[in-house]
């Protein structure tokens, strides 16, 4: 394992300390229990947005704490949901009197920990669960679909609404609406290595890719031969497209998310391929996002996300945001 670390036990603490120092204008990092709060929180009268989950997906979630997005993020151990005490402490620190909305990715562990936290919190609260990953079959008999890159879009939209004064119920309803309008699917070229595990989570042959991979290096739909970028984009987009059933001519957000180890050059190339897919099918791209936003440590690969927009969502997307990892309009 080749990483910049001092000891596997300290990775998270040191990295968060660095993050807090580098972005002291935007965030405050608290330890034991660990959470990252927006500088100046609580914001009186605003619904507080909290997200959290395993680390290793940076900038998710701490990189999205700040004006127009999250009020706090609770980083768990690498790929391991945070614990209830973190969420409780974060909620106490950032609740501005208008309640707390938890944005949780749909994993058993995340849900259970957030549920335990919810039991311990007295103030107003609600939860939005994201599950945008079409690689996994949706079913009420199972855990259902995973929450992946689309979570950023939910955080951005709801963050804007909360910033504009929406109440807790409206924020929750909006979050659910955005989640329903969002579909993602990913592909891995290489594995990631969890620091504490010390070896790659999975092995791929020199000509293989994992189609439908999860953001924790979980296996996806199937292992297939590496194809040209256009063919890969086609596979991902047609799975998304088939599930979202986008309205021809209606505005969409196309989001290419890098998993951490893929260079920007390739992400824009995939964006180009995905965009051509959309143009050929009259899926209008009104907004775009390309970069490493929901990563899997150093994994090479990417996910594509398509979000059906409307005028309200476009306004929320364009609303000023000032976080470590997403910034515009301010």
């Amino acid at each position: 394992m080749k990483k910049f670390i001092n000891s596997v036990d300290q990775v998270l603490t040191e990295s968060l300390r660095g993050f807090g120092a580098a972005h002291h204008d935007i965030v405050r990092v608290r330890m034991d229990p660990t959470f990252v709060a927006r500088a100046g929180a609580p914001v009186k009268g605003k619904v507080a947005l909290i997200s959290g989950g395993g680390s290793g997906h940076e900038p998710l979630h701490a990189g999205f704490v700040g004006k127009g997005m999250l009020d706090a993020a609770c980083p768990g151990q690498v790929f391991t949901s945070c614990t209830p005490d973190q969420m409780v402490a974060a909620a106490e620190a950032v609740d501005g009197g208008s309640g707390v909305l938890f944005i949780v990715k749909n994993y058993s562990g995340d849900l259970m920990n957030f549920e335990m936290a919810a039991d311990m919190i007295s103030g107003d609260q609600a939860t939005v669960v994201t599950n945008d990953d079409v690689a996994v079959e949706d079913s009420t008999y199972t855990t259902g679909r995973r929450g992946v890159a689309g979570t950023v879009v939910v955080e951005k939209m709801v963050g804007a609404a909360a910033d504009k004064g929406a109440d807790l119920a409206a924020c929750k309803a909006l979050g659910e609406r955005v989640n329903k309008a969002t579909r993602s699917m990913g592909v891995a070229l290489t594995s990631c290595t969890v620091p504490a595990a010390g070896k790659p989570t999975f092995q791929l042959g020199e000509d293989e890719v994992e189609m439908g991979v999860g953001i924790h290096g979980e296996p996806g739909r199937k292992r297939v031969k590496l194809e040209k970028a256009d063919a890969i984009a086609h596979t991902l987009m047609s799975a998304i497209d088939g599930d979202l059933k986008p309205k021809a001519g209606a505005p969409h957000l196309l989001f290419v998310n890098g998993f951490g180890g893929t260079p920007s050059m390739e992400l824009y190339l995939i964006y180009d391929a995905a965009r051509r897919y959309c143009e050929a099918r009259n899926i209008k791209i009104a907004r775009s996002l390309v970069g490493n936003y929901v990563t899997s440590l150093e994994m090479q690969g990417c996910s594509l996300t398509l979000v059906a927009l409307d005028d309200e969502l476009i306004k929320l997307w364009d609303h000023p945001v000032h976080t470590a990892a997403l910034r515009w309009g301010v």
Binding site: Q77, P84, S108, T143, A197, P219
Partner: protein
């Protein structure tokens, strides 16, 4: 006597999790996200560090150990193993070395796991070890089997139950995302449950001998 048992149980549980952490992580790499051993070890290390636990009566010790898991582990295993131990601890009313008492504790613990996990047997999880073991205990108790035989029976039940998770298709937890591809692998949480059952049986058997 009960407190001494607490210490023995803590040691046995901590030791087996530490010794098998890499293996558990390996199992989780195959059908999960490769952190189960790391998670369990972090939790049981914290239990080992909380020195007062071994000095408490078993019921309190279990509750405290469960809360430690909840606050230190995260993931699915933190709330699940945490809820299991907390519910078992709460269920202690009489002598926790009595078979019927243990049976009641296990029943409460399993109920807590099912509730927390919204899950049941047959979904390729830790429940697929815990429930058969609980049933085996009930069987032994109904036949008034001697303690040593009971312990051996529980171990065997855990082993068999663990093996049966292999052909199962996961429908809960992270492995469920795999669908059919989860078939053919042992469930990591089932393996850690079986390890803990072994550890407990061995510690109890050891107690009986001394």
């Amino acid at each position: 006597m009960a407190h001494e048992l607490t210490g023995r149980l803590v040691d046995a549980a901590v030791t087996t999790i530490r010794n098998h952490a890499d293996e558990l992580t390996g199992l989780d790499q195959a059908i999960g996200d490769g952190d189960h051993g790391i998670n369990m070890k972090r939790g049981f290390d914290a239990i080992a560090e909380a020195a007062e636990i071994r000095t408490l009566p078993l019921g309190d010790a279990l509750q405290k150990a469960g809360m430690t898991l909840v606050m230190k582990v995260g993931g699915a295993s933190g709330p699940l193993f945490g809820s299991l131990l907390m519910a078992m601890g709460k269920a202690v009313v009489g002598d926790p070395t009595q078979g019927e008492q243990v049976q009641a504790m296990l029943t409460e613990g399993i109920a807590a796991v099912k509730k927390r996990g919204k899950s049941d047997v047959g979904e390729k999880t830790m429940l697929d070890v815990l429930v058969p073991v609980s049933e085996a205990l009930a069987g032994k108790l109904s036949r008034h089997a001697p303690a040593a035989e009971t312990m051996a029976g529980l171990r065997a039940a855990a082993d068999a139950a663990l093996e049966r998770t292999k052909p199962m298709k996961a429908t809960k937890g992270r492995a469920s995302f795999l669908g059919d591809r989860s078939i053919g692998h042992l469930d990591p949480g089932a393996r850690s449950s079986q390890l803990l059952i072994h550890a407990v049986c061995d510690a109890v058997a050891e107690s009986l001998r001394t």
